[in-house]
């Protein structure tokens, strides 16, 4: 009983950690590119990137369902390899990545835009490669924003409900994450089980807020990271 009782916690933890890992890299790559991109499609691309946060999650979920469904373009492609994403565990990750990406992207882009372009230019005239500049200058200077972005993305994917339910459904032990479990527990009158999960979510959320506050306090006192190694 205890196993199925806590299974949403393990599913959520796996989903959230995988999601945060993927969103971290996707968000930083997109943010870094857009921070210095000034082409004609800038506003269009920017709008597409933040669209998931503007739309209702169920609408995003519906869109994903269409995309990954049997007749959807990505669904048809996957069915060639005999796989289907819909109503499987990877669907929880896909939904959470899409929903947490805008927060990661927006917050870290703000951090990159704060970096004085002259400082990067100075590094260029000193002969540093673009890759070295990114790791030794841009990232350390944007680091506070990136940490905030990561914690926000983590919290957002932990709370993801609408799009997850649409794409991954509610398959106990497989796709039932904590928010989905809370909802269906209450629907079926299991208030005690819902309460346990609520307390767990509260604990994780407060812990991440505390981590953010602690880190910010620490960052104010010391310098982010020293790229001695590079």
């Amino acid at each position: 009983m205890t196993e199925s009782y806590l299974s949403p916690l393990w599913i959520s933890l796996q989903t959230v950690l995988t999601t945060t890992f993927i969103t971290f890299f996707l968000g930083i790559a997109a943010a870094r590119w857009m921070a210095r991109y000034s082409g004609r499609y800038r506003n269009l691309i920017d709008g597409l990137f933040i669209l998931p946060i503007v739309l209702p999650p169920t609408v995003v979920g519906f869109g994903l369902l269409v995309l990954f469904g049997k007749n959807g373009p990505l669904g048809a492609l996957l069915s060639l390899f005999d796989t289907s994403i819909v109503f499987s565990w990877p669907a929880t990750v896909i939904a959470a990545v899409i929903m947490s990406f805008p927060l990661m992207y927006m917050t870290s882009r703000g951090g990159f835009e704060q970096v004085d372009i002259n400082i990067e230019n100075a590094a260029r005239t000193l002969g540093a490669s673009e890759w070295k500049i990114f790791w030794t200058v841009t990232m350390p200077l944007a680091w506070p924003a990136i940490v905030s972005a990561t914690i926000l993305a983590f919290a957002r994917s932990l709370g993801e409900f609408g799009a997850t339910l649409m794409l991954a459904g509610n398959i106990p032990g497989k796709t039932t994450t904590i928010p989905v479990a809370i909802y269906f527990n209450i629907q079926s009158g299991n208030m005690d089980q819902a309460m346990v999960l609520v307390v767990i979510v509260l604990a994780i959320s407060f812990a991440s807020l505390a981590a953010l506050a602690y880190w910010k306090g620490k960052a104010r006192r010391t310098v982010p990271i020293t790229p001695e190694a590079l």
Partner: protein, 359 residues
């Protein structure tokens, strides 16, 4: 030897410059928005010109015809920014060592210490940029820029945020550095006095073009156009035309003044009788006199402002009917007696101090 001949258009602004720097400090002088910084960015490889070429010691850095455009990393050109642009998360030592390559850690440390001592900040190595003064930050920025032994050094108004004593000390340091390294230094400034002090040659920029380039003395005494004259401090400019040329003696009639002014100028091959010209004089060369004579103009005193060593005055010509000619003067204290605001007086323009150029 740095040779630059580039064109670039951004929106309604177009840059079209051509000059060279030959193991000296060349100062680029010009008002803001005249393309000075843009030129430096193009030379450093941080901005791409539309056409033209840039070569450094015979090595092509950019050539639109041969389709060559080296990256900033490949050019080996040092850049000192107006806002220093130090890496705030690295110590002074780490900042200076950032561009040094291909050496062991011990050699790097030795080189960094050498540079710190050269810039007279030997003890600041372990501080962070925000923990040192702005003058010291600019010393670190200079040390960082010369650390990789660049073939040329570009300085974009590097001392404009410093107070006067710090700025003057750094100007001496910079002259010393150039004498030591014998590389091409390009110094952008909007301050004539600073450019004059640092360089033997000046290039004056005006709205994207080189208005005049040459020996600093000739720029100051023989400006060839209005912008250069204004920028080099010739505040009193008048429009007129030549009525006679007799050897060195040129007479110019300014319609608003009663009589022609006499100018003594040996360099007037390009001038002809009847030609419309500008004539001008620096405020410090105008004198206040008692007796009417050649080159004296009857004026009203509009305003007198007390300076440290001189009194700055504004006057307007009394015979001036249509156009109000205001003259600016710097009078030495002991010569400035005998006039007060609202009084009339006589101004004398020494003929050898008047400059003349085409309109």
């Amino acid at each position: 030897m740095l040779e630059v001949n580039i064109k670039k258009a951004i929106g309604s602004f177009s840059l079209d410059v051509n000059f060279s720097v030959d193991r000296e400090i060349l100062s680029i002088l010009g008002p803001s928005g005249s393309g000075k910084t843009m030129t430096l960015l193009c030379i450093a490889g941080l901005m791409r010109p539309d056409t033209g070429f840039i070569s450094l010691n015979g090595r092509l850095l950019y050539d639109s015809q041969k389709n060559i455009c080296l990256s900033a990393q490949q050019r080996n050109i040092g850049f000192v920014f107006q806002n220093y642009a130090l890496f705030p998360h690295l110590t002074v030592k780490e900042n200076i060592a950032y561009g040094i390559r291909n050496y062991s850690r011990e050699m790097n440390n030795g080189r960094v210490q050498e540079l710190l001592e050269l810039m007279h900040i030997p003890d600041l190595g372990n501080r962070y940029p925000k923990e040192i003064s702005s003058g010291q930050q600019q010393r670190v920025a200079l040390a960082r820029a010369i650390a990789p032994s660049p073939d040329a050094l570009l300085l974009d108004e590097p001392f404009s945020a410093l107070d006067t004593p710090q700025r003057e000390r750094l100007e001496y340091e910079l002259i010393g550095l150039q004498e030591m390294y014998k590389k091409d230094f390009l110094f952008v400034t909007h301050d004539l006095a600073q450019g004059y002090k640092l360089s033997t040659r000046l290039a004056v920029f005006d709205s994207g073009c080189v208005a005049q380039c040459g020996c600093k003395n000739s720029i100051v005494t023989e400006p060839t156009n209005r912008t250069v004259a204004k920028l080099t401090g010739i505040k009193n400019l008048m429009e007129g035309h030549i009525v006679s040329i007799n050897g060195r003696d040129i007479r110019v009639l300014v319609p608003e003044l009663e009589k022609p002014l006499k100018i003594l100028n040996s360099n007037h091959n390009h001038l002809a009788v009847g030609q419309p010209v500008f004539i001008g004089i620096r405020p410090e060369y105008v004198q206040l006199v008692d007796q009417e004579g050649e080159n004296t103009i009857c004026c009203n005193t509009l305003q007198l402002v007390d300076g440290v060593t001189s009194i700055h005055g504004r006057f307007n010509a009394t015979s001036d009917v249509e156009k109000k000619y205001n003259f600016e003067l710097d009078l030495l204290r002991f010569l400035s007696t005998g006039t007060a605001e609202g009084c009339s007086c006589l101004l004398y323009f020494p003929p050898e101090r008047l400059v003349i150029f085409n309109r």
